[in-house]
């Protein structure tokens, strides 16, 4: 469908993050670890070519 869909309309239920998931997105310690992981992933992409 190509209509304007408001969040939580009866016809559609996208997943929403829990408070813990949202908190982890800006938690410095957790995000520092993710920073390392994402950089490793990106370097793998770079090494492929």
């Amino acid at each position: 469908m190509s209509t304007v869909r408001k969040p939580f309309e009866q016809s559609y239920y996208p997943p929403v993050p829990t408070p813990l998931t949202k908190a982890l997105r800006t938690n410095w310690v957790w995000q520092f670890l993710r920073f390392l992981v994402i950089n490793v992933r990106m370097l793998r992409m770079v090494r492929m070519h």
Binding site: V4, W28, M42
Partner: protein, 484 residues
């Protein structure tokens, strides 16, 4: 002595110029032609568009860098291409017209032995009535456009601070746009900025796009591992829109932009309108419209360029249905099939077909994204093409380097709010860029190398990349250690 002529000094052209210059002996010339006097790190324009950076922070003058590195620079735009020369001129050449203050309009013939077309796109605002910063909508395609968008945003915020409710419409301004990622970044940076300025409750944010579903990004979306499932980027993206309270309109081709009202057609043929107080819509891209002529002066543009004005290279341009598309359709060396000393990289090369499945309204209007070919892939193909040309100019018989998007991965960081402590960005990797459903029948891509997650770490990386790529583009010490 041989001369490499590069048209364009964006990510692709500038990368090719710096790599070719450092590899070539001093007996050869590298000449860059660009109508712009400044280099622009385009991925940071979205931060200019919300006022957290200035145009000066995302650009720098090209001339001093080229003077330092030994590249000859002409501030000019290419007017015509003469790959066989012309009467009285035996060598191939490009006619350029100066855009330098004081010399504007002066023409010069630049002969070449090898040519790289890296002109990037023409921002085709005229494709939609009323579209563009000179008419009724804003853009973040250039640093100047983005600065204008920031002023428009400030005005909308001021109205909200006075208690008025505002509708902000952000997305794509035509049925065949690409670069949904840039509009996506702008949308979520605006949303973040509205929260930071304390007026989010006064704003209705609406996304409008030619994507079939959210999360397509012109790549047909992607599958990622998430919470014990393999799930499509649509789910991930819809979740973010829902969380941030953003409404969305997909499968839409904007047909007309009036001041305060946007008219669009949907894939099922409906004609709709939406009122908007702040409108940022990206334009569709086309080639810059370079004309080509043979030795006798007969126009041969159609044999070198697709109808979109992008240049044909070594891809398979045979028209075939979606089901018959193959990764091998995509170019590897980016060399013109007609002239073996002409190449096209970045947005300037004609893709053999889209990546997302083409969709048409019964009336025939296309509504699907054209393929993205910017950023990391653009830099990689420019570097490989430059190295191949250097080998030829130096007379070396080396193995031809290839950079097919069907065999290349890409990393992309999409900002969703600029703050070193509270910002977020979506960090994505895909491999390969062009899905290969023969090799990966269920997902089209290698699920071990294709990923996506949102968090503050992504913002840190995007912020670091801004400084790293500005440093690299200035050819400062050890710049080659920073990958494309």
């Amino acid at each position: 002595m041989a001369r490499l002529l590069i048209l364009g000094a964006g990510i692709a052209g500038h990368t090719a110029a710096l790599h070719a210059r450092r590899k070539l002996g001093e007996n050869h010339e590298v000449v860059v032609v660009s109508p712009n006097s400044r280099w622009n790190w385009i991925p940071s324009n979205i931060w200019v568009g919300v006022g957290v950076m200035t145009p000066e922070q995302v650009t720098f003058p090209l001339a001093p860098v080229y003077e330092k590195t030994g590249v000859i620079f002409r501030q000019a735009r290419a007017v015509s291409l003469h790959p066989d020369g012309s009467e009285g001129v035996s060598r191939p050449y490009v006619m350029v017209e100066s855009t330098e203050p004081g010399k504007a309009g002066a023409r010069e013939r630049l002969e070449y032995d090898y040519l790289i077309n890296a002109t990037g796109p023409r921002l085709h605002f005229d494709a939609t009535e009323g579209l563009g910063p000179e008419k009724n909508s804003l853009s973040v395609c250039t640093a100047g456009h983005a600065a204008q968008a920031a002023v428009g945003l400030d005005e909308a915020v001021a109205r909200m601070q006075r208690g008025e409710r505002q509708t902000l419409l952000i997305g794509t301004g035509h049925g065949t746009c690409t670069c949904q990622g840039a509009a996506f970044e702008y949308l979520f940076n605006v949303e973040f900025e509205l929260r930071r300025r304390g007026v989010r409750d006064k704003a209705r944010l609406v996304w409008i796009s030619n994507e079939h579903e959210l999360g397509d990004f012109g790549m047909g979306g992607m599958f990622i591992r998430r919470g014990g499932y393999i799930t499509h980027s649509r789910v991930f993206t819809e979740s973010l829109y829902t969380e941030r309270g953003v409404e969305w309109i997909t499968q839409a081709a904007v047909k007309k932009v009036d001041r305060g009202e946007i008219h669009y057609e949907t894939l099922d043929g409906r004609q709709e309108s939406i009122r908007s107080d702040f409108t940022m819509l990206l334009p569709p891209f086309s080639g810059v419209g370079l004309k080509a002529f043979d030795r006798e002066g007969v126009e041969i543009t159609e044999s070198l360029f697709a109808p979109s004005n992008f240049m044909y290279v070594d891809g398979d341009y045979t028209k075939k249905p979606y089901e018959e598309w193959s990764p091998s359709d995509w170019p590897e060396t980016y060399r013109s099939p007609r002239y073996d000393n002409i190449y096209a990289v970045g947005i300037a090369f004609a893709p053999p077909h889209p990546i997302s499945r083409p969709m048409f309204i019964p009336s025939g209007t296309p509504i699907y994204p054209t393929p993205p070919r910017t950023g990391m892939p653009s830099g990689v193909m420019a570097r490989e093409v430059a190295f191949n040309i250097v080998d030829k100019m130096e007379g070396r018989e080396g193995k031809t380097r290839t950079a097919s998007m069907a065999k290349m991965g890409a990393a992309c960081i999409a900002s969703a709010g600029a703050s070193l402590m509270r910002g977020t960005a979506v960090s994505m990797t895909v491999y390969p860029i062009i899905p290969d459903f023969q090799k990966y029948p269920d997902t089209g891509r290698d699920i071990h190398y294709t990923s996506g997650e949102i968090g503050l770490a992504g913002h840190w990386i995007k912020h670091l990349l801004h400084f790293a790529f500005m440093y690299k583009a200035k050819a400062r010490p050890l710049w080659t250690a920073i990958p494309e």
